[in-house]
Structures are given as structure tokens and as C-alpha cells.
């Protein structure tokens, strides 16, 4: 009897290790294949030049890199301030009011809306209205996606600030907006910054909302109101094209995108932790 229970335990450990492996192996497999296939196309020309005319070799993805950065910056300009202000409202002003809990529910629901649907919203609002594909629509979609992430990080890191500090501020007669911005927000700064960086990393990989908003372009971006190339859409277009040269470039772009996203995440999660304590 005892032997059979011990054997059972061993079998179960083997099964658990196998199941864990089923999740670990794909990760290394993905990263391995991206590095393996992507590193061979890396060059200065690849990173800085325009795509070569169709059929000729060479050329690069410079316009797509620039496009992703531009759209991300504008999206951050929309999403981060709105996210922080909403987070402040939820942490300091909403309390348990009815409007507070409504806002909280909606912010949470917004984070569960598929990115494709948010892109569809930008498409219906901007692209269909102006009959023109534009980076503005992409910026709106990605900006909206950032809001719940930044708001949640802001709210959570402001909530852990001890009430003693707020009360000390009140006892000194400091007005509430000053307590909120100078004391609570400055204590919560680390969490707000890491939340914003993670949101930036998150939208850097989002592709679905860009497909029918920023579309794609083979030229340098000329304005945010024009169609623009992005790394994400380039990976998709080139990967499904089937042309060997384009597929190789898609791998290169994937390597770059993964490096960007993982670098930000590692920096925030593992380096930031010491400095800001728990944020």
C-alpha cells in the first residue's frame, strides 16, 4: 500500500514535469527560431533603409521602425496622461461612490476588449469618416489600449501609500490636490513609470489594430495623417507573402520587435524592482 502511494507520487511528479515542459519548450522554441532566422538579415542597411523595389534584393525596414516609434509616441501622449488621471481619480477621489465603481468597472472592461475591436472602433470613427487610412486612427486605437493598463498601475501604486502621509498633509492644511500630486503621486511615481513603460511595450507588439488604420507604406512616414509602415504590420505582410526575401526580413523584424518588448519588460520587472520596492 505504502509502496503504491510512493510510486503514484513519482508518476505524478513525472507528469507535472512533462506538463511544465509543454509550456517551457515552446517559449525557447519561439525565441530560438526568431534569433536563428532573424540574425542573418541584421545589418545597418536593414535597420536604416527603405524596402528595396519589388524583385531586387537588399533594402531594409527603416521606415517601419520609425513608423512604430512615431505611432507609439503619439499613442503614449494620449494614453499615459489619461491613464494616470483616471488612476488618480480611482485611487483618491472615487472612494466607494457609485460613479467611482462604474468607472472602475468600465476601465476593467476596457482592458478585456480585444485589440482588434478597438482597432475596428478607430476604423469606424476615423477611417470610414474621412475615407482615408491614417496613422491618427492607429494612434487613437493604441492610446485607448494603454489607458486601462496605466490607470490600474497608477491606482494600485497610489493605494499602497500609507494614509498617515495623507493625514499628515491634511493636518498641515495642505489642499487636497497638493497632497495628491506632491505627496501621494510622488511616492507612487515608480509604479506609475513602470506601468507606463509596460503599457508602451504592450502596444509595441499590437498588430491587429494597425492593419486597417495605419495600413502600410513602402516610403518614409510623411505625416501622422498618412498611411504608415509599422514593424508589426510589416511582419504580418511579409510573413504571409511567401517570397523568401520578404519572409527573411519578417524574421529580422520579429527579432527586433521581440528585443524591444523583452528589453522593456526585463528592465521594468527585474531592474526596477530594487529601486522602487514592489512596484
Amino acid at each position: 500500500m505504502i509502496v503504491s502511494r510512493r510510486t503514484k507520487e513519482k508518476l505524478i511528479i513525472a507528469a507535472l514535469v512533462a506538463l511544465t515542459g509543454a509550456a517551457v519548450v515552446p517559449l525557447f522554441w519561439i525565441i530560438g527560431s526568431i534569433v536563428w532566422n532573424g540574425i542573418s538579415v541584421m545589418s545597418l542597411e536593414f535597420l536604416t533603409s527603405l524596402p528595396a523595389p519589388f524583385g531586387s534584393s537588399g533594402g531594409g525596414i527603416g521606415n517601419a521602425i520609425l513608423g512604430t516609434l512615431i505611432i507609439n509616441l503619439f499613442a503614449s501622449g494620449l494614453g499615459i496622461p489619461l491613464g494616470i488621471l483616471t488612476g488618480i481619480y480611482l485611487a483618491e477621489y472615487a472612494h466607494d461612490s457609485r460613479m467611482g465603481s462604474a468607472v472602475r468597472t468600465i476601465v476593467e472592461s476596457l482592458s478585456g476588449v480585444p485589440s482588434l475591436v478597438i482597432g475596428l472602433f478607430a476604423f469606424t470613427l476615423i477611417v470610414l469618416s474621412f475615407r482615408h487610412y491614417t496613422g491618427v486612427a492607429a494612434t487613437l486605437a493604441l492610446g485607448i489600449m494603454m489607458i486601462p493598463l496605466v490607470a490600474k498601475a497608477t491606482e494600485e501604486s497610489m493605494r499602497v501609500v500609507s494614509d498617515d502621509l495623507r493625514e499628515a498633509g491634511m493636518a498641515l492644511g495642505i489642499p487636497k490636490y497638493n497632497i495628491t500630486t506632491r505627496i501621494v503621486l510622488s511616492m507612487a511615481k515608480g509604479g506609475v513609470i513602470s506601468g507606463s513603460l509596460l503599457a508602451f511595450a504592450r502596444i509595441s507588439g499590437e498588430t491587429a489594430p494597425l492593419l486597417f488604420t495605419a495600413l502600410f507604406s513602402f516610403y518614409w512616414p510623411t505625416g501622422i495623417d498618412q498611411p504608415m509602415a509599422t514593424l508589426q504590420v510589416l511582419i504580418y505582410n511579409y510573413a504571409i507573402s511567401g517570397f523568401a526575401d520578404w519572409v527573411a526580413k519578417a524574421w529580422g523584424a520579429s527579432l527586433l520587435l521581440v528585443l524591444l518588448v523583452i528589453t522593456i519588460n526585463v528592465a521594468v520587472r527585474y531592474l526596477g524592482r530594487k529601486k522602487y520596492g514592489g512596484a
Binding site: L85, Y89, G112, L120, T124, L125, Y177, G205, I240, V247
Partner: protein, 310 residues
Amino acid sequence: MNKKSIFFKDSAFKYLVGGSSLIVVAFFVMIFVMLAVRSYPSMANDPLMIFGSTWDVNSGLYGGIPAILGTLASSAIAVALAVPISLGMSVFFTEYAPRRVRAALSIVIDMLATIPSVIFGIWGLWIVAPLVKTYVQDPIVGSIGFIPLFSGPAYGLSLFLASLVLTFMIVPIISSLTISLLSTTPVELREAMISLGATRWEVVRHVALPFSKLGIFASIILALGRALGETMAVTMVIGNSFIWPFSSISLFSPASTITSKIASELYEAVDVLHVSSLVELGLILLVITLLVNSSARLVITRISRRNASG
């Protein structure tokens, strides 16, 4: 600074943060409004057409049922595959893994959650698809292909492959929540079991898992919500065909989902009816995912209330 200006600044700040929150609420409401407005041409033309079984752009037929079923089927299969993997990993993590392995595993889970969908797509399309065709689909079609669910021909790109890729994308969602739930099992219960001579597995089986049952269920529902809305990876590996499920029910046949339909057709759609049908599919997806996500949140709220009172 006089009192009036302090009062003014104080209330201005209050309106600033309150107003920003209202803008966010307005965005959320506008998503529904705009999708409804833009799908009106399709609803006005024939309110039931979206529930038809044929999608044929050339003949102006926009029946969304194959895509809707594809979305539900691929997500359900992915969840079914992801649950054992995630639970196995979570139990291994919390009960058996030494500290260093735990640290490594938590990095693995973080990274899996971080990798963009389009990267899963390119990997699935160029690396996994050929292998799945040769080593999984061909042998199965060759041996039990007479069962409609496993019939050929094997294309590689298929409902099965989409579900498989989705699986790895939702594993981190279930695992990270389950790990945090399992590690909150009360130590007294755990020690009581061990003092009775229970093995670690028996502790997990009879104490830890039942204790976190509800939360694990919620995490699975959340993962389902994520899988339903997943776009790029699915679009790249599912084959985007309307063969499934009415011409061939096989798991190995190319299929389509709501998301793959929108992602692959919207940017080249010109016909008003075509565009509005795609938007209407998006509206259906939005409603489904919100229902799924809010039911998960309902469960989570109940748990945190139980924990707060207990």
C-alpha cells in the same frame, strides 16, 4: 496664496481627474455606438443575414456562422489543452520546484505572456505548420481519417493548428493566477494533512486544489475571453477558409474565426455591405468577450469578498 485660489485649484484638479475618467467612459460607450452605427447597413439590409452559413463576397452573401463557430471552437479547444498544462505547471511550481527553478519558471511565464501575437503567428506559420502536417496530421489522417473529425487532406494550416498556438498564448494567464491562488492555501490545512501522513500530491489533490477551485475557474474563463479575441496568430495559421464546418467538420481543415475574417478582409473591403457585415461580426465578438470577461470578474469579486469576510 489666498483661500479662494486654493479652493479654485482644488476643485479644478477634482474636475480634471473626474473629467478624464469620463472621457475614458465615453470611449468605452463610443466603441459600442460606432460599431452599431457602422453595422447598420448590414442589419437594415437583412438582420438575419449575419447568421447565415455562407460568406461569399462575390455574390454579396455575408453569413457569419462559420466564423462565429470557428471562434468558439478554436478557443474551446485551446482552453481544453491549456488547462492541464497550466494546472500541471502551477502545481509543480508551488509544491515541488526548488527555489531556483521557481524563479526561472516565473520568468518563462512572464516572457510567454509578453511575446506579441504576430510573433506566435510567424512561428506557427513557418515553423510549426509543416511539422504538425508531417508528424501529427498525416499519420492521424492515414490511420483514423475515416472519422469525419480527423479526415484529410492535411494542410498544416487548420483549426487544430490555430488552437494549438492559442494554447501557448493563454497558458500564462491561467498559470499566473493559479500559482498565486495555490500559494495562498492556509498553512494549517496543509500541515494538518502532512501530519496525517499525506504525500504532497494528496495535499494538492484534497486541500490546495479544492481550496482554489473557484479562482482557477475564473482564470480559465479569463483565458477563454482572451482566446476569443486573439487575432494575429490565429489569422496567420488557421487558413482562412469557409470549408469548416459545413463542408468538412475535420479539425484538420482550414477554418476561419471572427478575428481572422476581419483582419484579412477589412482593409480591402469596398462594398458597404461587406464592410458593415465585418463590423457587425466585430460587434458580436465584443458582446461575447464582454459577457465572458464580466462573468469571470463576478467570480473574482465573490472570492475576494469571501476572503475579506473569512
